[in-house]
Every structure is written in structure tokens, then in C-alpha cells.
């Protein structure tokens, strides 16, 4: 079992607030790794640290032995780490199709010149981009609405589109920030299956933040629990569920 992501003593302070404090964990290739914890525990901040959107205060993060800390977000994305956002950040004024095409940016190379003259290589590339975008749209079930602007989609569809967009990066690691938020239980069940399916299909390693405990317990291979920016437990669902620190954190918080 190969370690893919290695976080070591990650810290992030906002002023005096320690949003993420000394967090150390490892993610193994192919697993679905859940991140849970009460509101304000630092889960999203941790995702932002991992994707470079927020610079770390101290500590290191490496991916397949390469250091990620200090890299700008687009370099991290280029290495194969895709993500979705807690409060959906689609390109609202673009069509669903274009949203997915945009995300294939790092896997393509055509520049101004190629785009203008429609060189054979750029034409071939554009065709690949197009095909892949349609494929992904079919996968997320939005192919029939490809031309519509993202802002016109319902909440659930926007969440699926955002996952589709992250997949277009050809990621090896997928970071999902509360993918089930706002979904009903049938949708949540479907989402669970969907995440399992894409893990198989794309050989993904998945990290996800989720509040809905049954979904996490059901879906994840391992779970990490954050509280007040500190990691209080890591382990498989059964272990974590029994952990006294976790129980206390949840009871204390809710």
C-alpha cells in the first residue's frame, strides 16, 4: 500500500486563531478518506492548505514524495489533485459543457497560435477535449443539458457538475468538500454509489469532508476527526466511532 499524501505537522493561523494545528496524517492510494468534525474544526481550511488556496503557516505536505507546500493552486492541480468547494464555485456564466472543458486545461497544451490557426494538433486536441467533456457529462447525467449555463442548474445538479469538473482534471486525488450537503436521503445514497463508482473507474483516491455521519461511516475506508484545528483521531469507521475523544468532541459540540 502506497502512501500518496503525507501531511506533517500542518499549521495555519489566522491572527491568533489556530485554524489548523499540528495536523499529521497520511492518505493511502485508492482509499476513501473521510474528514469529519464539528463546525469550525478546520476541515475546509485543511482542504485549502492541501490545494494551495491558503498558504500554510508551518509544516509540510507532500504528494508521492514531492513537496506541495508553497506551490500555487494551479501547480497543485496540475499534479493531479482536484477538488470541489463547500459553497459551490462553478463558472456560473459558462455552460455545463464549458465548465468541464475548462478543467481539462492542464491536460492540454494548445496556445493562442494553435487556437487561432486551428493547427492539426490543436484541432485534434479540441476534439479530445470535446469528447471527454461529453463523456463526463453523461457520467454525471447532465449530457442533455450541456449547453445551459451553470447558474441555471439546481443545487444537486450543480454539485454533480462540480464533481464532473474536478474529474476533468484527470486527478489521482479528489477532494470533495461536503458533496452531500443539501441532498435528500435518496440522493445521498446515489451519491455514495457514484463516488464508489468513480473511484473504481478513474483509479482515484478520495478525500471527503462530510457532516452526515452515516454516509461517512458507510462510504469511507478510514476517517480522521478534527476538533478545534487538531486531529483527535484517525482510523477505520468502527475504531473512530468508539474513540472516547471523538465521542466527547461531538457530544460537547452538539
Amino acid at each position: 500500500m502506497k502512501v500518496l499524501l503525507d501531511a506533517e505537522r500542518l499549521c495555519r493561523n489566522f491572527g491568533g486563531l489556530k485554524a489548523v494545528n499540528n495536523v499529521t496524517f497520511q492518505v493511502v492510494e485508492g482509499e476513501i478518506f473521510g474528514l469529519i468534525g464539528p463546525n469550525g474544526a478546520g476541515k475546509t481550511t485543511l482542504f485549502n492548505l492541501m490545494t494551495g488556496l491558503t498558504p500554510v503557516s508551518s509544516g509540510t505536505l507532500s504528494y508521492q514524495g514531492e513537496r506541495l507546500t508553497g506551490l500555487p493552486p494551479h501547480r497543485i492541480a496540475e499534479k493531479g489533485i482536484g477538488r470541489t468547494f463547500q459553497n459551490i464555485r462553478l463558472f456560473k456564466g459558462l455552460s455545463a459543457l464549458d465548465n468541464i472543458k475548462v478543467a481539462q486545461h492542464v491536460r492540454t497544451s494548445s496556445g493562442l497560435w494553435g487556437g487561432f490557426f486551428c493547427t492539426p494538433s490543436s484541432r485534434a486536441e479540441e476534439k479530445r477535449v470535446d469528447e471527454k467533456a461529453w463523456e463526463l457529462l453523461k457520467l454525471i447525467g447532465l449530457a442533455d443539458r450541456a449547453g445551459e449555463l451553470a447558474e441555471n442548474f439546481s443545487y444537486g445538479d450543480q454539485r454533480r457538475l462540480e464533481i464532473g469538473r474536478a474529474l476533468a482534471l484527470d486527478p489521482r486525488v479528489l477532494l470533495l468538500d461536503e458533496p452531500a450537503a443539501g441532498m435528500n436521503s435518496a440522493e445521498k445514497r446515489a451519491l455514495t454509489e457514484f463516488i464508489r463508482a468513480i473511484r473504481e473507474q478513474f483509479k482515484l483516491t478520495v478525500l471527503l469532508i462530510e457532516h452526515h455521519v452515516p454516509l461517512v461511516m458507510n462510504l469511507c475506508d478510514r476517517i480522521a476527526v478534527l476538533n478545534f484545528g487538531e486531529l483527535i483521531a484517525v482510523g477505520n469507521p468502527a475504531e473512530v466511532q468508539k474513540d472516547p475523544a471523538v465521542i466527547e468532541a461531538y457530544l460537547g459540540a452538539e
Binding site: 475546509t44 485549502n48 488556496l53 491558503t54 468547494f85
Partner: protein, 316 residues
């Protein structure tokens, strides 16, 4: 630079800087509330000067629709100054209703406000020319009463000169600034204004009528702009309908330097730019026009929030 020259530059800089400050305050007030720049502010400045002129002198020249008209209202100058500024404030209110409100209620792209305020500026400037022509109008020199035009003293054998107009301008600016400072810090209106600037939604939940506050802001903005216009007009004459344009542009530099939306910032920015211009060595005076913008450019690159502005943290 001798001590006398230094003092002279200091005096000149503070005097013109205080006008910049008053003028820029009008910009910054609107920005703090609506987050947009009102490009018609320079035109309101011009208009204020013409209003005061009409009241205090009222003799029109040889061009435009009103040519040859002699109103001869002879309103005392101090009163004309006040009424002129109030009228400019009302123009500010009108401007808000006609050019900004329809866009705001529609939730349109805020950039469009730039275009529509530019349109208003075009209308005002050309309407002035249509009515009274492009010629220069000046206030008679006795406008401030019968006082000596200048005072001179010597510092180590060299002359330093204080023009009475400079002193008056500075004094008026300080009075207005104190009143404004009081209004904003200690009155209900001021508190409401700050609340709206902070967050309009929350403010309206607190029972503040955001619409009224916006109107009040535009009134104050127009008032300050018109007042600055008159002050500059008495000192140097009203050099045609376009004379506010330079100030309009320079005012942008002032508010960015101080921090967009910051009231003490606008005052400080005005004084800093006034001083910087005054201290440009005579040999490089050709580049004086660029000083404000060089400041603007550098400040934006080094400290985009301005000298007294706050940083906004974007939430992911």
C-alpha cells in the same frame, strides 16, 4: 532648498491639499456606501462654482443661451457659497435617482454605473456651456470683503508669502471637515451611514432606511464637491465648464492614496498629494501633473488598500 522655500511649499501644499481633501471626500463617501466611483463628481464640482457665481455675481458673458443676462442678485458671498453647495448637493441627489438607482435596483453590473455617471458628466458640462458659454467667469476680488490680498514675511532674508485666499480656503475646509467629522462620528445619521457602509443588508435589518442613507450620502457628496468648486473658483476663477475635469481625475488619486472609502484617508491623501505637488522642484514642474498619478500607481502596487484602508479577506 532654503527654509523660506520650504515654508512656502508647505503653505501652498496644505492649502491646495485641503481643497483636494474636501473634493475627494465626496468621492469617497459614495464609494464607501455603494462601492462605485461617481465619475460625475468633477462635473458637480464645476456646477457648484457656477451656482455660487450666479447667486453672488450673476452677470453672464457673451456666449450661450443666457448671454447678456444680468441677474445681479448680489447675495452675500458666504450665503451664496452655502446655497451653491446645497444646490450642488441636490444635483447629487438627482444624479443618484436618475443615473444610479435604476441600475442598483436592477442589480446591473456595477461597471455600468461608471458609464452612466460619465453620461451625466457629459450632460452637465455641455449644458453649462449651452447656457453660459465656455468663457472664464471670476468672482470680484472683494468677494471676501475688504482685506489685504496677501501677507509677506521674511525668513532668513527670503520672502514667504501667504495669500489671504489660501488662508480662507484652508479655514473653510477645516470647518467643513470638523462638521463632517462630528456628523459621522456622533450623530444617528453618521452611525447609520457607517452601518450601511459596513453591510447594507444588516443595516436594513436594523431598521435603517438604506435608500435614505444613500440619498443623504449623495447630498453630502454633492455638497462637498460644489463647495470645493466654489473655493477653487474664488481663488483662480471658473475656467470654463471643463475646469472640474482635472480635479475629478486627481481626486481619484487622492482617494486611492488614502484608501478607497476611508474618510480620514481622503483628507490625508488630499494633503499628501497637495504637498507632493508643491514640493516638485521648479525644473521638473512639467511633470507635476503626473505626480498624483505616480503616487497612485506606486501606492496601488505596494499597498493596494491605501494608506488608511483596510484589507478585505476573501472567504473561500
Amino acid at each position: 532648498m532654503t527654509l523660506a522655500q520650504f515654508l512656502q511649499n508647505l503653505l501652498n501644499g496644505i492649502s491646495i491639499g485641503s481643497v483636494y481633501a474636501i473634493f475627494a471626500l465626496g468621492y469617497t463617501l459614495v464609494f464607501s456606501i455603494l462601492g462605485i466611483i461617481n465619475f460625475a463628481h468633477g462635473a458637480v464640482f464645476t456646477l457648484g462654482a457656477y451656482f455660487t457665481y450666479t447667486l453672488a455675481v450673476g452677470q453672464f458673458g457673451i456666449n450661450g443661451l443666457l448671454s447678456g443676462l444680468n441677474l445681479d442678485l448680489k447675495v452675500p458671498f458666504a450665503l451664496s457659497l452655502l446655497i451653491g453647495a446645497i444646490l450642488a448637493g441636490l444635483v447629487g441627489v438627482l444624479l443618484e435617482r436618475l443615473a444610479f438607482k435604476p441600475l442598483r435596483t436592477r442589480g446591473a453590473d456595477s461597471l455600468l454605473a461608471l458609464v452612466s455617471s460619465l453620461g451625466v458628466a457629459l450632460v452637465i458640462v455641455n449644458a453649462i456651456q449651452y447656457l453660459v458659454g465656455a468663457e472664464i467667469y471670476t468672482f470680484p476680488s472683494q468677494v471676501y470683503g475688504d482685506i489685504k490680498p496677501a501677507m509677506m514675511f521674511e525668513v532668513s532674508g527670503q520672502p514667504v508669502v501667504i495669500r489671504t485666499v489660501q488662508v480662507i480656503i484652508f479655514a473653510v475646509c477645516m470647518v467643513i471637515l470638523s462638521i463632517l467629522g462630528y456628523l459621522i462620528s456622533f450623530t444617528r445619521l453618521g452611525k447609520a451611514l457607517q452601518a450601511v457602509a459596513e453591510n447594507p443588508t444588516t443595516a436594513s435589518l436594523l431598521g435603517i432606511s438604506v435608500d435614505k442613507i444613500i440619498l443623504a450620502t449623495f447630498f453630502m457628496s454633492g455638497f462637498l464637491g460644489g463647495l470645493a468648486g466654489t473655493l477653487v473658483g474664488t481663488s483662480f476663477g471658473i475656467a470654463g465648464p471643463y475646469f472640474g475635469v482635472t480635479y475629478g481625475l486627481k481626486g481619484l488619486a487622492v482617494i486611492v492614496l488614502g484608501g478607497l472609502g476611508s474618510i480620514p484617508g481622503a483628507v490625508m491623501g488630499g494633503i499628501v498629494i497637495g504637498l507632493a505637488e508643491a514640493f516638485v522642484p521648479p525644473d521638473y514642474s512639467a511633470y507635476k501633473e503626473a505626480v498624483a498619478f505616480a503616487f497612485l500607481f506606486i501606492v496601488l502596487l505596494v499597498r493596494p488598500q491605501g494608506l488608511l484602508g483596510r484589507t478585505h479577506i476573501q472567504k473561500v
